[in-house]
């Protein structure tokens, strides 16, 4: 990896160079009851909208790569016959300015499933290949447990990665395009002092993690505790609302539905992102529901993320961003659930 440093006030130059593209970044959406700022990824139209000091976003950036609704194909129906059209919709390269390590790791996990090798998804892959990503270091929030998931740092899946050293940015360069762009800025090699400052800052960041999960032997423990009564307890709380999957950067399940236009001459096939907590997630033709109760649905959410995926890819399908727990009105969080399985006790 190549490391460079540029002066803090040159960040705007970097923004200006990229501003001609569809540029998505963190911006302020409002404040909650307690005065806590709430952020969202959205299109940025001026440098001042870009808030690289954001805590974390309420929703992940999934809507830009795996939209909640997407047309997979459309059909023209004429003379008793039909013609199919597929539009991958990849006309607009996107710049993502300001992704935290967890979110870049989230993309890397999605890639494993959606870009192949078994069933590559051309809609996702098309968008993914047309992304320019600028990562940025974060300050851990009380709900972040990425450190436990090994996703607090990121080694690939971005073009450049910024760390604010105070008056300078320390930048890790991963792609030739990123390097070319940076040559328009007064970049210099980092000094020994810059190295020290970077390590200091990372130590400081590390000391700020307050939330963690004990993942050791988790796949085995999940196997052992398949029938555990704790699942029933969590099931009683769960509202089967799907908010957790909606906000999750790594959930990718979807359903496909056909729509016929009112004039009966056109039709579309659309996918809709779904959640394994929704009541009919495992309902099949004929009406049988393999997971009719909220407890088994919630359980399988954890089994997919922390057991099935772990077995298939040797990593969990969770980056510890904590969004699901923040979004869950029933207060169901990953650390609490995993803890309860280990200790066989659900917090009141």
């Amino acid at each position: 990896m190549l490391f460079k440093v540029f002066p803090g006030n040159e960040l705007e130059t970097l923004y200006d160079i990229l501003a001609g593209h569809h540029l998505v970044g963190p911006q302020l959406r409002g404040t909650d009851l307690n005065g806590q700022e709430l952020f969202a990824f959205d299109y940025i139209h001026s440098f001042t909208e870009l808030r690289l000091d954001f805590t974390s976003t309420v929703h992940s950036l999934k809507s830009f790569i795996l939209p909640p609704r997407e047309t997979l194909s459309s059909f023209t129906l004429t003379n008793g016959d039909w013609e199919k059209h597929v539009d991958l919709g990849i006309y607009k390269p996107h710049v993502f300015f300001g992704l935290h390590p967890c979110d870049i790791n989230g993309l890397n996990k999605l890639d494993k499933v959606l870009t192949g090798p078994v069933y590559p998804d051309p809609f996702y892959t098309g968008k993914r290949k047309n992304m320019f990503i600028i990562g940025v270091n974060c300050s851990p929030q009380p709900w972040c447990f990425c450190k436990s998931m090994g996703t607090d740092t990121v080694l690939s899946g971005f073009d450049m990665f910024l760390t604010d050293l105070g008056d300078r940015y320390f930048v890790e360069i991963q792609s030739a395009i990123a390097y070319d762009i940076l040559t328009e800025l007064p970049i210099v090699d980092p000094t020994e002092a810059d190295h020290r400052r970077f390590v200091e800052l990372m130590d400081e960041r590390n000391s700020k993690f307050t939330c963690q999960v004990d993942n050791s032997d988790l796949t085995k423990i999940l196997d052992l505790e398949f029938q555990s009564p704790v699942w029933q307890e969590w099931g009683k709380k769960c509202m089967s609302c799907g908010s957790c999957a909606s906000v999750c950067p790594t959930c990718y399940c979807y359903g496909v539905k056909e729509f016929v236009d009112l004039d009966l001459t056109n039709a579309t096939k659309q996918r809709q992102l779904y959640s394994c907590n929704l009541i009919d997630f495992a309902m099949v033709a004929g009406g049988h529901n393999f997971r009719p109760d909220s407890a088994s649905r919630l359980k399988y959410r954890y089994y997919h993320k922390h057991r099935g995926f772990q077995e298939a890819y040797e990593e969990a399908l969770c980056v510890g961003c904590g969004r699901c727990g923040q979004a869950c009105l029933a207060g169901i969080t990953v650390p609490d659930v995993i803890d309860s399985v280990r200790r066989q006790e659900v917090p009141k």
Binding site: P68, L77, L262
Partner: protein, 260 residues
């Protein structure tokens, strides 16, 4: 106008269709006539033979009947039974028809005579307890909402005409709300019935920063105990939650079961 069309080479009949209203604000029927851009295509799917709000000289020879409104009078009950006899498919149109709707709020009062006096003063009319269509007849299809959402009606009617199955979302509004990228209203201190209400409106109210009032009734799984806990933990008074749950009638059996 030609009476048939084709879909993938199969002849599709335009079904003879009638619209009726019982006790209602007629807002759902007005929704049927809304959305001008696709209104002609919509009307073209059906052979509408009776629709008081939109045409004169209605006929009583129809296959599909859309019935808006709730039953609050004996003569409405009679009309409804007659419609049921004629219609092959009877559709409950909107929350009044499905659950009693806003009208059923009067059922909260024990003394209906007093209610009548408050509303009509010295000009009383004959009214009874408000009840949904399903209390009197078999309802083949329900279209929820107060008012109904025209986009959803278009989809349902297209599937109805094509003979496809019609499946309402079984999950709650929260799924649509979060899919739309909204920030949850509870975070902003506002109550919302999204977690227990059937989706399908695309989170109409939360999209506009208004908490859901549950006009579409309960989702297939609705966890009221947890809803109560959420309201409590957000310091939302029990009465405020009940006001919402009671508003459109969809939750009446749930309220009965709710612990005090």
């Amino acid at each position: 106008m030609e009476k048939t069309r084709t879909y993938l080479g199969v002849e599709i009949k335009r079904p003879r269709t009638a619209f009726f209203e019982l006790s209602s604000c007629e807002g759902c029927q007005l929704q049927i006539l809304n959305k001008e851009a696709s209104l002609f295509a919509f009307l073209d799917l059906l052979d509408i033979v009776n629709f008081r709000e939109a045409m004169s000289n209605g006929s009583n020879d129809y296959e599909i009947a859309f019935v808006e409104g709730s039953v609050t009078r004996a003569d409405e009950e009679e009309r409804l039974l007659k419609i049921r006899k004629q219609a092959k498919t009877l559709v409950a149109l909107g929350s009044c028809a499905c659950f009693g709707g806003v009208n059923q709020l009067k059922n909260r009062f024990n003394d209906l005579e007093w209610v009548k006096k408050e509303v009509y003063g010295d000009f009383p009319i004959e009214t009874q307890k408000v009840r949904p269509l399903s209390d009197f007849v078999t309802v083949d299809l329900s279209i929820y909402g107060c008012p109904i959402k025209k986009e959803e009606v278009e989809e349902i009617v297209t599937n109805l005409v094509l003979g496809k199955s019609i499946d309402h979302p079984r999950y709650p509004v929260c799924m649509e709300c979060t899919a739309n990228g909204n920030i949850c209203l509870f975070k902003l201190g506002e109550p919302c019935l999204g977690p227990v209400t059937r989706a399908g409106c695309d989170a109409w109210c939360p999209n506009n920063r208004v908490g859901c009032w549950g006009c579409r009734g309960p989702a297939d799984e609705a966890n009221f105990d947890q809803l109560q806990e959420i309201m409590d933990s957000h310091n939302i008074p029990r009465q405020a939650m009940l006001d919402r749950l009671e508003c459109f009638g969809g939750f009446s059996s749930a309220i009965k079961n709710m612990s005090e």
